[in-house]
Amino acid sequence: MAMRTPLKNVRRLGSAKEGTDHFWRQRLTSVALLLLLPFMLWIALAIVGAEYETVVRTLGNPVVSILLVLFILTGVVHMRLGMQVIIEDYVHTEGAKVALLMLNTFFAAVVGLASIYAVLKLSFGVAI
């Protein structure tokens, strides 16, 4: 007979009440980013060393804009999850940990929103 009690197993969503949510989102965003990365490198190659007008016209293209916004959005969600794990691994003082976790979310939100704002401004400002 196995000397194990049912308590060994995690039940339902576990004590943190989020189950595999963090793990799943990290994977979901990583697959999305892998799909988007070739397009991003292609766009970067298309505008490297180009004139201002070319840069604005390229980034303002609807398809390019949408791909850029998707990349930024997925990227900041992914990096926020990653940095959360780094903080949880290395910061053991409760106050500093909570503060850094908050800062992590703020950073991701500000960088993401600023970048998306810039892309939309470029895109909406360009006549095609």
């Binding site: 990583s30 980013l33 892998l34 190659l45 201002y52 900041v76 780094i86 810039a118 470029l122 400002g125």
Partner: protein, 139 residues
């Protein structure tokens, strides 16, 4: 230990489990550490992307300022490092996705996957920069 400290209890010296410094650096361990470091670098590197996009959205002068920085020696080194970190983290991500399917855990495959990550990322980064200098006229 942290709890004992918080409650003001005297610290008991307990045996520690062996950590990083006691092991010989194997390629899978190095790639694991590098994956985390590149992830952290990319995290702060998004500031550069946000700056460049905002500069492009604000006007030719601002874009010229940003491009001046990225075109400088320091800027080029930072950008080169950034693209390598991006490609390396992406390839490392593929390795982790393969492992997520519970495949490739025999030692030979682990070594092959890890060596492919570093060799692949360096090769692709060099190729990409060759393309950048070719297209950008060596800007």
């Amino acid at each position: 230990m942290a709890e004992a400290k918080a409650r003001g209890l005297p610290r008991t010296e307990r045996p520690l489990s062996p950590h990083l410094q006691i092991y010989a650096p194997l390629i899978n361990m190095v790639m694991s550490i590098v994956h985390r470091i590149t992830g952290g670098a990319l995290y702060f590197g998004t500031l550069l992307l946000a700056w460049w996009l905002l500069a492009a959205a604000t006007g030719p002068q601002h874009l010229a300022t940003a491009n001046w920085f990225f075109g400088s020696i320091i800027g080029q080194i930072v950008l080169f490092g950034y693209t390598w970190a991006l490609i390396h983290h992406a390839l490392g991500g593929i390795r982790h996705l393969i492992w997520d399917t519970v495949h490739g855990f025999d030692l030979k495959t682990v070594d092959t996957l890890c060596w492919s990550t570093i060799l692949g990322s360096v090769t692709l980064t060099v190729l990409l920069w060759a393309g950048i200098y070719f297209l950008g006229g060596g800007r």
